[in-house]
């Protein structure tokens, strides 16, 4: 952008937001050049920090007037390039709109701003015995607005669903700047489920400025079990067996040997180093009957051949068992200079086959992989370990990732369980969607975003945004502080 125009726009934005509400110097813009997927980078012209929905609306109208693309951004922890800036556009950061606006405990609804950190919502309603159920592993950093864009999940989705199952209404700024509510606090709003369509639209339908969500009462009791297996297939068998017994655990997480080794090296959580797989199962609900349910889970694991099954006896032990699972990503740094987090989802019963294929594919490319699964819902996160300093490694990682997605598609799964399509997987959409499917989605996008200026270049296989690809791996600042895990 020519300097005079940039200066004039900057003055206009400052008049709206104040001098501390906008960044335009190249060094400052660098912090916003990518999201959690540091493979892709692009520089915006401005990063702006509105405080109100009206300001967001004014900024979007300004962007339209200037024919500039714009991208909304929360904490930037996304892993598919979803809030990668559009080259030469506006990044609208929602981080200053981070308040809990109201909580109605009797009706079990909270209204919050998009920049509110996910975990902070649960903290806010915790003292009254409530929590916000969708809990992605990056919840100490990621925002509700970002969760809306990605329809975020987490370990508890098997029992509690994903973000869209907990959103009642959204105030949004549409891509043309108009401010309106979709849905509200009451159920079954008349007309099309625009809330359901907006959630998971990855910022291409507009910008959420207020979110009305359901909050749930905390369960009366929680029980956590760790099962250790010598053969990975046995762990998968245990998962199927638990489901087969008619149990729906709140969470079922699986980690493989490489991951266990990394975790033990880094944090010494007490997982047996030589185990092929560990399964962490959590049950929650009424206290009555939970002991019996836990017994059935333990039985299922033993019958599947578990070498050891441990049930947490109190909260401290429960936290200890989870630590192993939660520190998985932070631990990979022990065994590899870098890793690429993949995200795919498959029918649960295909787990053993897909795991085998993943390991084969990665080995064929001369790499290693640590697998973390939300075993309950078939959502897998193969973490491909590599050294970015070695020439050609990054390319092989990307190639292996693509083949893994193909396998997911082949067995009737999907190419994204949680992280979204963003930029990273746009070209893989044809693996699971036909031309007609994509045309239909395009039409939907046109209804919301006819100019295409709102978060362009995402989701659909099309001409790529102008980005720089293949830079050295840099951990996200939040990761470095040990505040959040990748995933």
């Amino acid at each position: 952008m020519p300097e005079p125009r940039k200066k004039s726009l900057r003055r206009e934005i400052e008049a709206l937001l104040g001098p501390n509400g906008v960044l335009s110097d190249p060094e400052e813009l660098l912090s916003y050049e990518s999201d959690g997927l540091t493979l892709f980078r692009a520089l915006a012209d401005f990063v702006v920090f509105p405080n109100t929905a009206e300001q967001v609306s004014a900024l979007v109208k300004l962007a339209n007037r200037e024919e500039m693309p714009f991208v909304a951004r929360g904490a930037g922890t996304g892993l598919s390039g979803g809030c990668l800036p559009a080259e030469g556009g506006l990044v609208i950061s929602l981080m200053r709109m981070n308040r809990v606006l109201e909580v109605d405990y009797e009706n079990q609804i909270a209204v919050v701003e998009p920049g509110l950190v996910n975990l902070h919502l649960s903290w806010a309603v915790g003292p009254q015995g409530f929590y916000y159920a969708p809990d992605p592993s990056s919840q100490q950093a990621c925002t509700i607005g970002g969760n809306i864009a990605n329809n975020s999940g987490g370990p508890h989705t098997l029992k509690y669903g994903v973000t869209t199952n907990h959103v009642l209404g959204l105030e949004v700024v549409l891509p043309d700047g108009e401010l309106m509510w979709l849905g509200g606090k009451t159920r079954d709003p008349q007309g099309y489920d625009l809330v359901g369509l907006f959630v998971g639209s990855e910022g291409t339908f507009g910008i959420a400025t207020k979110i009305a969500v359901r909050i749930l009462r905390k369960p009366q009791a929680v029980k956590t079990v760790l099962a250790v297996f010598d053969v990975v297939d046995q762990a998968s068998e245990a998962v199927s067996s638990i489901i087969g017994r008619g149990l729906i655990p709140a969470a079922m997480e699986m980690i493989d040997q490489i991951t266990i080794e990394a975790v033990e090296d880094a944090f010494g959580c007490g997982y047996p180093r030589d185990a092929a797989a560990a399964l962490l199962i959590e049950l929650d609900g009424l206290a009555a009957g939970i002991e019996g349910e836990t017994e059935r889970v333990v039985e299922a694991c033993r019958e599947a051949g578990a070498r050891e099954v441990r049930a947490a006896r109190d909260e401290a032990e429960r936290q200890a068992l989870w630590r192993g699972r939660k520190s998985a990503f932070g631990a990979y740094g022990r065994v590899s200079p870098a890793y690429m987090v993949m995200d795919g989802v498959i029918p649960r019963t295909k787990l053993p086959y897909v795991l085998r294929r993943v390991n084969e594919i990665v080995a064929t490319h001369g790499l290693r992989v640590g697998n973390v699964f939300h075993a309950g819902d078939g959502n897998l996160h193969p973490n491909i370990l590599y050294d970015p300093r070695k020439p050609g490694e990054e390319e092989r990682v990307v190639a292996a990732g693509g083949e893994i997605l193909k396998v997911c598609a082949e067995v009737g799964g999907s190419i994204s369980g949680e992280h979204g399509i963003g930029l990273e997987k746009a070209d893989y959409m044809p693996l699971i969607f036909s031309e007609a499917d994509l045309v239909c989605m395009h039409r939907l996008k046109e209804a919301w975003n006819p100019t295409g200026r709102c978060n362009p270049g995402k989701i659909f296989p099309s001409r790529k945004a102008c980005v720089e690809v293949g830079a050295a791996y840099r951990p996200h600042p939040i990761e470095e502080k040990g505040l959040a895990q990748r995933f």
Partner: protein
């Protein structure tokens, strides 16, 4: 309006699957009879029919079990009815994955019976499941009391195949329970009443069937007390599967006694938990004015729930109108009481029942005879009352004479422009059930 090219339809599905003339009379809708009724066997048939309809400018109405077809503004005209009764196959049931895929024309009850053979179910209990089809349940967003714990269609649908107005066959979602690839097309079809395409197949999430399932009918002197009981249960540790609040008229209508009000509480799961919850319900509601509690099981339980689901068609021979209201749970008791009083003041009777945990109420108005003034007045006052509470009111059923004077849908807000934009892009010719939906869509 163009004539329906019956010969071309016969060539697509075979002559025995096309009805014309008087044969169409069972498919009358709001006083209008379609020019023809056609029964495709496959989604490809549906596609061919829609291409034909598009070419000839013929308006199309999809027809499942016909149980919710009354919902909508009266159609200006009925061109072609597309009956889904031949698409009834259950295509896949993967018990280990807790998913199933079926064609849209399968009766919802039949689907449940099939899933039950492997100890599983779709955790949705819409009314009239013996006739309502999977596609119809989705298209009308039909739900029942168990939405309290298990949610509604939007929480259970994971994939969908629809035939678009231009004949293209489109898939959204997938077969896996967690999926964020692309836009959530399946959500768009839920509650879209056939205006965006014809649902041909759907994939749903399943749950294991509970070991035990009981219904507690807790009676109170009036709605105020019963409402207080509902709120106490919601504030407790209990996790009922269903929590319905019903008034004296509704109680009478389902054959559960005279007057007062009641909470119908469903508890399911393993025996330990069900017994604990039953005891806890009594402990909580006792001091709150509960007059008596009966625990029902087996057929008695099923009959009671079924009767409640059919409230709009039961004891009242002279049902004048049915409305669905959406308010906040804390507003329910007052809204139900006030609603009953309004009907009485106008010389009519109303049976009111609500899903207390989600604020959704059903108001069944009866009386008035041939005169519709009292009915119109009541419905108008009802809508004003609900809107003033910040909620929404839908006229689910009423005779034509009433519909001419009372709008089916609330006046839409600014979001209607997005809805219209979607409709225009997915059905540019406006052949799919036009003119019946929100905002005149």
């Amino acid at each position: 309006m163009s004539l329906v090219p019956v010969d071309k339809l016969r060539r697509i599905v075979g002559a025995q699957h096309v009805l014309t003339g008087v044969e169409c009379s069972p498919y009358t809708l709001e006083g209008r009879t379609p020019a023809a009724v056609v029964f495709p066997a496959t989604k490809e048939d549906i596609a061919a029919i829609l291409v034909l309809a598009g070419a000839e400018g013929i308006v199309v109405t999809p027809w499942g079990g016909g149980t919710k077809l009354g919902i909508g503004a009266p159609p200006e005209r009925l061109g072609l009815v597309i009956g889904l009764s031949r698409l009834t196959r259950i295509l896949e049931h993967e018990p280990g994955d807790l998913t199933a895929t079926a064609e849209a024309g399968v009766a919802f009850g039949a689907l449940q019976v099939s899933l039950a053979t492997r100890g599983q179910w779709v955790s949705l209990d819409p009314p009239r499941a013996d006739r309502a089809t999977l596609g119809g349940v989705l298209a009308s967003n039909s739900a029942g009391p168990r939405r309290h714990l298990y949610g509604t269609a939007r929480d259970l649908l994971i994939g969908l195949t629809a035939v678009m107005a231009d004949g293209s066959i489109v898939r959204g979602g997938g077969k896996v329970v967690k999926n964020v690839a692309g836009y959530d097309l399946p959500k768009l079809y839920i509650g879209s009443f056939g205006t965006l395409g014809i649902i041909a197949e759907a994939t749903v999430k399943l749950r294991p069937r509970p070991d035990v399932d009981r219904l507690i009918v807790a009676r109170f002197h009036g709605l105020k007390d019963a409402g207080g009981g509902a709120r106490a249960i919601m504030a407790s540790d209990l996790v009922p599967a269903a929590l319905d609040l019903i008034d004296g008229e509704a109680l009478r209508a389902i054959g559960s006694g005279e007057g007062g009000a009641a909470l119908l509480i469903g508890v399911d799961g393993i025996l330990d938990r069900v017994e604990w919850q039953c005891a806890e319900v009594s402990r909580i509601l006792g001091p709150l004015g509960m007059v008596e509690a009966k625990v029902l099981d087996g057929e008695e339980r099923d009959d009671t729930w079924r009767a409640l689901g059919e409230l709009g068609r039961r004891e009242f021979d002279d049902v004048a109108a049915v409305m669905k209201w959406g308010v906040l749970p804390t507003q329910l008791a007052e809204v139900l009481e006030h609603g009953g009083a309004i009907a009485q003041r106008n010389g009519l009777r109303a049976a009111l029942a609500a899903h207390a945990g989600v604020g959704i109420a059903s108001a069944v108005l009866s009386g008035g005879g041939a005169q519709s003034n009292a009915v119109v007045a009541t419905l108008t006052e009802w809508r004003a009352m609900v809107l003033a509470s910040g909620g929404h009111a839908l006229l689910e059923w009423a005779p034509l004479a009433v519909k001419e004077r009372v709008a089916v849908w609330d006046a839409p807000g600014p979001a209607a422009r997005i809805m219209k934009g979607i409709k225009e892009r997915l059905d540019p010719q406006g052949i799919l059930n036009p003119g019946r939906f929100v905002g005149g869509i």
